[in-house]
Amino acid sequence: MMKRLGRQPLFLWGFGFIVMMLAGSLIHAIFFDSYVRHTPFLTNGQGEMVGPPFAPFEHSILGTDMNGNHIVYYILKGAKYTILGVFSIGTLSFALAFLVGIPLGFKQKGKSKILENTLSALYFIPASVIAYNFLRPLLLEPMSGFPTTLGFRLGTEVLVIGILLTPPAAIYIANETSVLLKKEYITTSRSLGAGSFHLFRSHLLPHLKERLVTLFMRQNIQAVLVMSHLGVFELFFGGTKAEFGLGAGRPVPVTYEWASMVGMYFRTLQTNVYWLVGLPLIFLVLFVLALTGMSRALRNVLTEEARVYTSEVESDLQPDEGRDDFAMVKKTSE
């Protein structure tokens, strides 16, 4: 399986991007203590002072913001929070959905209707709005500073968003399971004395595998979506540092995760300093594309494996697909 995965260019690109960003960010944090370079002014050739913001490639590779902070360092600093945060939200919600969805699928319908109807409110009210209202007291810094640690805030946020993303995924798994359980071979297996666990392990899991992989990636993409919404609403992953009093600036993120940079710099858009918002957006898009690419490659590999497996089993029963028993030796040109 790993070998096949290695041959999928989409997987390699996606995986490579994520690992590179993560490794770069961790090295930046461990060896350079998340240092952010700062250029308050430069002198041009005529000995005049030029102030920030500098465009990308002008002075620093990704440009600087209004105060001369180099964006590339912020991107590096935020990468680990973005990537690890998204993965932990995705994994948590996927695990919860799996643990709830499979037993729900085994159960006959009826009891779960009440729960399902109540939860359908989640279809109408977007998860990001619920997360915003629920997390706002925790994440907005009060005038006296945060009483909580960064780890606690991150953990709570992951937990809350993970739980919010669970219900649709759980209902999806439950539906898929109950569809599979209605198949004939399941009935046969049951009448031969198979228990639920046996059914789950040897009949459900092989069929669900492909869909579960896709679902896992979908949960991750959903997590990016919610995080980007919260970032735009200026409720940053890990907390929002607010300034108080007259002349206070815009709220500033604690972690510089990519979505929060979009929210932080959004108001500079009117001044045509496009790269401040554009760069974090590009990185977010790249991250999502990496996730979709990996998901596609995994799905390809899994279907390929299934095909190899069935053709090994049934090779003497069925002719290969796409090759007729009778084929023209010389094809007439069409």
């Binding site: 009440i114 109807n117 109540t118 939860l119 359908s120 409110a121 989640l122 279809y123 109408f124 009210i125 977007p126 998860a127 990001s128 709005v129 619920i130 915003y132 209202n133 629920f134 997390l135 706002r136 007291p137 925790l138 009060p142 945060f146 009483p147 909580t148 606690f152 709570t156 993409i221 990016v224 979506l225 980007s228 919404h229 970032g231 735009v232 609403f233 979505a259 979009v262 959004f266 858009l269 009117q270 045509n272 496009y274 918002v277 554009g278 957006l281 977010l284 898009v285 999502v288 594309l289 996730l291 979709t292």
Partner: protein, 297 residues
């Protein structure tokens, strides 16, 4: 006999449909009360009086107020919220019409295109679908600002308040993502419909292909598209809130995000999502009458 059975079926259907919104209301209530359980220091138990207080406030909706978070000024919620509602519905409706017609136009144009181009646009749109909606909104705002800087004129109003509120720009920006979704599902549905026997039959009868598309495929496709209505609406609503927030429109987003005290949130959510629910139900009933297939949206 037969009539009685169908009458009973209708009765149980109606019962079911009447109970369902009640659960929805309970769900919305739970969501609007939930912020009480969170404080600066983490999860807390707010105490029963606080929750009971919210119910008390909800009992007399005409005296509800919304509070500006920074100035602390209180204003009465009730006539004002209808203005916000009208603004949101206008933006949402315009975006829906624009995106549906754009996607239909695109499908019509691609209908006779070579297979390669068709497949290419299918996979391109499915990649675009996974990109977060924030990206489209912010990118289009960047484009509008760039347009202004380059040409010096505003083609459409970017922002405003009160009477001069921008409607067209937010609606156009909001329609980007639904257009992609509609377009993608229309393309794949048309392709599926082409595989069906009735299409071959119609072709072999010698009917012109455009005629087949307009009369047969289009109808079947629209029916199947409306099965996805709930999903599409949920995408559009969450995108609408982003658009309203970023364009600083005075719409439902202001009440769901900025002025969201629990009672205000509850009233706003009901006022906004009630009609959405009703529209979905109407679509469901229409589908039932035309196709005799029960769908639950």
């Amino acid at each position: 006999m037969d009539g009685q059975v169908s009458f009973l079926a209708w009765k149980s259907y109606l019962m079911h449909e009447c109970i369902k919104p009640l659960f929805l209301i309970v769900g919305v209530l739970l969501i609007s009360v939930s912020p009480l359980f969170m404080s600066v220091e983490g999860f807390v138990w707010p105490g029963l009086e606080k929750i009971a207080g919210i119910f008390g406030q909800l009992m007399s909706p005409e005296s509800l107020v919304y509070i500006h978070p920074e100035s602390g000024e209180e204003r009465s919620l009730f006539p004002v919220i209808f203005k916000a509602f009208a603004s949101s519905v206008t933006v949402l409706g315009t975006a829906l019409v624009v995106s549906l017609s754009l996607a239909l136009l695109g499908t019509l144009m691609l209908w006779r295109a070579p297979k390669r181009i068709y497949q290419l646009s299918l996979s391109f749109t499915s990649i675009l679908q996974s990109i977060p909606d924030v990206v489209f909104v912010v990118a289009s705002q960047m484009f509008l600002v760039w347009l202004y800087v380059e040409t010096g004129t505003t083609f459409i109003k970017l922002a405003g308040a009160g009477e001069g509120e921008a409607v067209l720009a937010p609606a156009l920006v909001l329609s980007i993502l639904p257009t992609i979704y509609f377009f993608q599902s229309m393309l794949s549905l048309v392709e599926e419909e082409k595989e069906k026997p009735y299409y071959e039959m119609a072709v072999s009868k010698g009917l012109p292909k455009t005629f087949i598309l307009l009369t047969h495929i289009m109808r079947n496709m629209l029916v199947r598209l409306s099965y996805q209505a709930k999903f599409l609406i949920s995408i559009m609503v969450s995108n609408l809130l982003i658009v309203e927030y970023l364009f600083e429109n005075f719409g439902m987003a202001s009440f769901l995000l900025t002025y969201s005290q629990p009672p205000v949130f509850f009233v706003t959510a009901l006022l906004f999502f009630g009609p959405v629910y009703l529209v979905l139900k109407i679509v469901e009933l229409t589908l039932y009458f035309f196709t005799r297939q029960e769908v639950s949206l």
